[in-house]
Amino acid sequence: MNTPPERLPESSPQSNATGKIPHIEVSDLTMAYDGFVIQKGMNFRVRRGEIFIIMGPSGCGKSTLLRHLIGIKAPTSGSVRFDGLDLWGVDDVTRDTLLLRMGILYQSGALWSSMTLAENIALPLSAHTRLSRKEIAELASFKLSLVGLSGFEDYYPAEISGGMQKRAALARAIALDPEILFFDEPSSGLDPISAGRLDELIVHLTESLGSTAVVVTHDLASILEIGTNSIYLDIETKSILAEGPPGDLLEISSSQNIRDFLSRGQGSKLSESPSEGHKL
């Protein structure tokens, strides 16, 4: 039987979450690959306007959970609901409509390498809106300017740096003004300054667009800086160990694992002096 996760009250002053209706509701979700269970019995809710962090050690299933939330992988059991609609229980047309309400920033950026940055942003616009070509081109330039990439419309992804690719990918993610933004390890591969700027951009864009953000990361600076609520996935029990604002989890969580995770392992065995009792 699973131990219920530790739940802390959502008391963070920086939270701008609105309403009581969950934007995303995950119920009894079990994730598995070829019969190998990665996480089981997951339950959590993401409220509208939150920046919700999914954190945990490497290999605990964070990115896999994201793939379940964005409709790429079907759950082994359980459900993922958006505004009450079960992503995997509705017909294909409804699911496609639901997916268009999401914007996703992949860990690698995942810009389509055969297209320019403007074309990358224009593609979803041309497929899902009735805007003219000129309007689409203007909108693509505008989205690029939002992420500080004005003038790079005709560049190919391979011609710009990793940080710029991430920003361009963010511009594509917000192309259709999504209600929910998903971020998979947004700061991976970036220097601390670029990562900090990207974090600012995430906060700014979610506030401006009124979007909900779900961020998969184990970057402590990002977690503590931008997260308004979070869950911690445990690799040993294969379940959610705790839920609550990251700052509160760091301060008052009863779990040593979580406090270690949020304090870079301070107080763990590694920091102990070998002369103070460590044995082979």
């Binding site: 997916l99 992949y106 690698s108 810009l111 055969s114 497929a127 065995k269 460590h278």
Partner: protein, 380 residues
């Protein structure tokens, strides 16, 4: 300074305590003392506690650490309590680091069977699954093609044009070279035998009919499997690794419509022309060998071709090649989209695309040849 040889000296103290004294330089280029001596000593003396000392220990590196880890396992097996607190802090710190992350017993790992029958069964199950995945994939292509015909597809014709360039003009140099050589080889191999009967003129029949009906189509398709089918797999595989395929799906695009259809259409449209081109160059190559080595002039060669060959000979070869082209493109795209999310998998997908493409070509050629024979299409 000369390095001292590494040594571990066991000695018994009172109260069943053994002292294991480490001395010398424990480096990876030194010959380490055998652990068997220590094991023998421990079995003989049966101590309850072991104290490791390093008073005369010189320089050390990973050699000492691995030795100590093995030694600690031996002590543990024999139920001997150990005290290593007097070892250098660096040694203890490194060993602690190596044991800081426990090995995960339940990590996902493919179980590789180790006996023949299990291996055969394993492959049979894989083949069965692969067959059903391929059937699914072909079904999806048919649905996407239906949407294209009804004007509801999101396929971009600009992508088809790009792929046309890749599949057609870019492949001309290699098709030309192999086409001419194939014709020359056919002519030479055939002519050596035909000359015995004084029937060198039939070289034209051999090369013309051989190239038009079979060799031109087969050779062009196999070249396209190696050149373009593998490129499709590598391209789509890299897109999978970079999450570009997932990005397409979550942006509301079907990878089949967006990536696979343009490639199949481009291959279907270009490969018949490549086949015709290869046929003509093969026949040309045959004429060169005939004229140069077997006293068959080019006008005689052409006259014989004119007598023996009919349009249907070319049509059959080109028709076959169009089917091969579709199969090569399907194999390339199928393997590319099957790619796992790592770089090594892209290489495997590429190899697999070529092998699958060639298997498809040979199998479908056998089926089509039987059909053509049954329908008497080449009857004179």
């Amino acid at each position: 300074m000369k390095a001292k040889p590494p040594q571990i000296t066991p000695s018994m103290q009172c109260n069943d305590v053994v002292v294991l004294a480490l001395s010398g330089d424990w480096c990876i280029d030194a010959k380490l003392p055998p652990l068997d001596t220590i094991i023998g000593f421990l079995l003989q003396e049966k101590p309850k506690r072991a104290t490791l000392t390093a008073t005369d220990l010189g320089s050390w590196d990973s050699a000492l650490l691995t030795f100590l880890i093995r030694l600690s396992q031996v002590l543990e097996q024999q139920g001997i309590e150990r005290d290593d607190s007097t070892l250098p802090k660096g040694v203890l710190g490194m060993i602690a680091l190596s044991q800081a992350v426990p090995e995960r017993q339940d990590a996902i790992r493919d179980q590789i069977p180790n006996d023949f029958l299990t291996l055969v069964g394993h492959h049979a199950i894989w083949l069965q699954k692969d067959f059903f995945r391929l059937a699914d994939f072909i079904g999806e292509i048919c649905i996407a093609f239906g949407r294209l015909l009804r004007g509801r597809s999101r396929m971009r014709w600009s992508d088809v044009m790009t792929q046309l360039q890749e599949c057609g003009p870019s492949a001309l140099p290699i098709i030309s070279l192999i086409g001419i050589l194939m014709g020359m080889i056919l002519a030479f191999v055939g002519a050596v035998q035909l000359k015995v009967f004084g029937a060198q003129l039939l070289i034209a029949d051999l090369v013309g009919l051989g190239m038009a009906r079979e060799m031109g189509a087969m050779m062009t398709s196999i070249l396209m499997a190696g050149r373009t089918g593998s490129a499709f797999a590598a391209e789509l595989g890299s897109m999978t690794v970079n999450d570009e395929i997932d990005a397409l799906k979550t942006s509301g695009f079907s990878p089949i419509e967006f990536l696979v259809l343009p490639r199949i259409i481009a291959m279907f449209l270009t490969i018949p022309f490549l086949c015709l081109f290869a046929d003509i160059l093969g026949i040309f190559g045959g004429s060169i060998v005939s004229a140069a080595l077997f006293d068959v002039s080019i006008p005689e060669y052409l006259q014989q071709l004119n007598v023996r060959m009919r349009p249907v000979d070319f049509e059959v070869g080109i028709g076959k090649c169009a089917v091969f082209g579709i199969l090569v493109a399907v194999a390339g795209c199928f393997r590319g989209l099957q790619c796992q999310r790592n770089a090594a998998s892209v290489g495997l997908a590429t190899t697999s695309a070529v092998v699958t493409g060639i298997v498809f070509i040979v199998a479908s050629d056998a089926v089509m040849t039987m059909m053509i024979t049954a329908l008497d299409l080449l009857k004179r």
